[in-house]
Symmetry: C2
Subunit: 394 residues, 2 copies
Amino acid sequence: MPIEHSPFSKAEYDRRISQTRTAMAAAGIDVLFVTDPSNQAWLTGYDGWSFYVHQGVVLDLDRDPHWWGRMQDANGARRTVWMNDERVLGYADQYIQSRTCHPMEDLAGHLRAMGFERSRVGVEMENYYYSAKAHAVLAAELPNAVLVDATALVNWQRGVKSHEEMEFIRKAARISESIVRVALETAEPGLRKNELVAEIARASLIGVNDAWGDYPAIVPLTPSGIDATAPHLTWNGNKMKKGEITFFELSGCYRRYHAPLCRSLFLGRPPQNMLDVSEALADGLEAGLEAARAGNRACDIANALNSELTKAGIDRDERCGYAVGLSYPPDWGERTVSLRSTDETVLLPGMTFHFMPGLWLEEWGLETTETIVIAEDGPAEALCNVERKLFVKA
Amino acid sequence: MPIEHSPFSKAEYDRRISQTRTAMAAAGIDVLFVTDPSNQAWLTGYDGWSFYVHQGVVLDLDRDPHWWGRMQDANGARRTVWMNDERVLGYADQYIQSRTCHPMEDLAGHLRAMGFERSRVGVEMENYYYSAKAHAVLAAELPNAVLVDATALVNWQRGVKSHEEMEFIRKAARISESIVRVALETAEPGLRKNELVAEIARASLIGVNDAWGDYPAIVPLTPSGIDATAPHLTWNGNKMKKGEITFFELSGCYRRYHAPLCRSLFLGRPPQNMLDVSEALADGLEAGLEAARAGNRACDIANALNSELTKAGIDRDERCGYAVGLSYPPDWGERTVSLRSTDETVLLPGMTFHFMPGLWLEEWGLETTETIVIAEDGPAEALCNVERKLFVKA
């Protein structure tokens, strides 16, 4: 793909590759096999729904990376990566979901041919797309290499967003605002939940102006009433009811970048304790934003939130957020920093988080959240502009 | 969850558990740890977008299965599985994406407490949701157990669909017809591709009558022109153009069951060779359906197709389909039977396949496909009813 069609400048990709190489060198890694689709896209621009078969990026310390995957997906790679066509490697279709051979046999052949037979090879041990079997086959095929756990090595390089990346995230935030408003406006007693989600999905793909909608890495979560005691139930065909709270856990997506945003809606007149909890949560978010300053730590955000929640008698011990940005299903998080009392990661300007203190209680649940960016000075900026409250439709 | 709210009867779950135990016994497995979300749902009914963290089903040879996962998702499990609440096990939030501990430490503790410290434990080595790291931790935590590769052991039990399952797949097929028609009707020169996909997504969630739309395991694939030379590129904000072919790779989904259906559309007047290729493909599908009979083998379908394609000068060596049914992202296939010349699986009545001979050529691509069910007698039945041809909008 000519770089002029690429989402990012060549300078941006150069920065990413260079940062990653520094981390590789520090970890004593000669060559890195990157399976996380987000990391593949971040390093090379590769984009396609082909991560259900084995594929990855091979990056060493000096040459342009290779993209390696199924032969039929090599066409898609040639159309999306910034490298020259000869850096795209395809393996034969017979390896797909076979009971007699495995794609890692093909990859190992390439690694040997590239001179990495006795090298330290970094692999992402904890990743959806690097199976236990893939690891076993690669290890058996490269008996003289050392496979080094490089889980999240690239993910950590993605924490501080560049100016180019922030433009994408801000576009995603415009879409997030739009779809949360659609959800709030469309929801009403008698509406089937799948019909509500249909309008949310439509709006998320229409996007906002030039920000066309890409698919978010998680589907809309919109449980009501007792179903909202669980954070991850998806919708069904039941009708929305008066007297129930519904939370909307949504994200716009622009070119794979996310800015998740959650709000909650009560149909009817909410009980006072629900309003009180919502207010305590808004106070906690405000306190967390104040604490989310460059130089502070991830745990400071969590502690600031929890101190407000404790005042209101709410004991919440789950993590309350995570790094966010470029992602593919099944998770829009970056799987690096967690906002929780045990995470002492120092906050840097340009880091983006989904500050996500969802409350899943005994009989109902409530979510009010923000995607935030750490500023050079002062408190973090919330990227979306939707009032922080429990919405009510009488 | 009371069984009356469950998608399936208790007898249906009993059948599934019993079949799986027979396969476990044959493989010498004492206890099976099931990570594939489709297998979890098939065995227990568990349904939720929580598969981005470690979770699974523990099944032994005599007791009701356990569902094990993140504490906050235990609420969702209690609302979706058929087992009693005490069969739902939750682990603490501190294990989530941690750098110091791993959820498999918790699972190993349960397996030891259940008496499986020295047992043969089946694990799905080749699965998106069983990482290399998960396997390494489990193996270290259970040094006296034998971890046996049980990849696809449950998937193979899912091949022949029950009457209850076929009802779901037929509902998905109604949705597939509806969304392919929406795509064909909506597409026109000047329409931005994301706007087309927005209408497809909306229709897929609205569903058809009582068949409310669930999320398909793959997003709509709708590439045009040169992008259609690659099978898995997703959409962007570019406008559709006269003189280009677009393929629609879509599936309706009803309660996680799929019936994929692909058709192609030319805007303008298609070149003769494109019409010829489309006709050869329709002939190939017809020949494949004829060969798709109980007692024949999977390869017979592929060979029948390829023999028609070869007559038309088309040399196609990718697999031309796969088993399909219940699934979660990132793949709607069952990852068992592949329709290709090397797969000698004997076809049984009730098996369902996506017969998918996509053509991704030098300058364009074309897809006409069917979801089929193997009949008791005679050729396979195509579940959707949309004409098999290249659609044209002048």
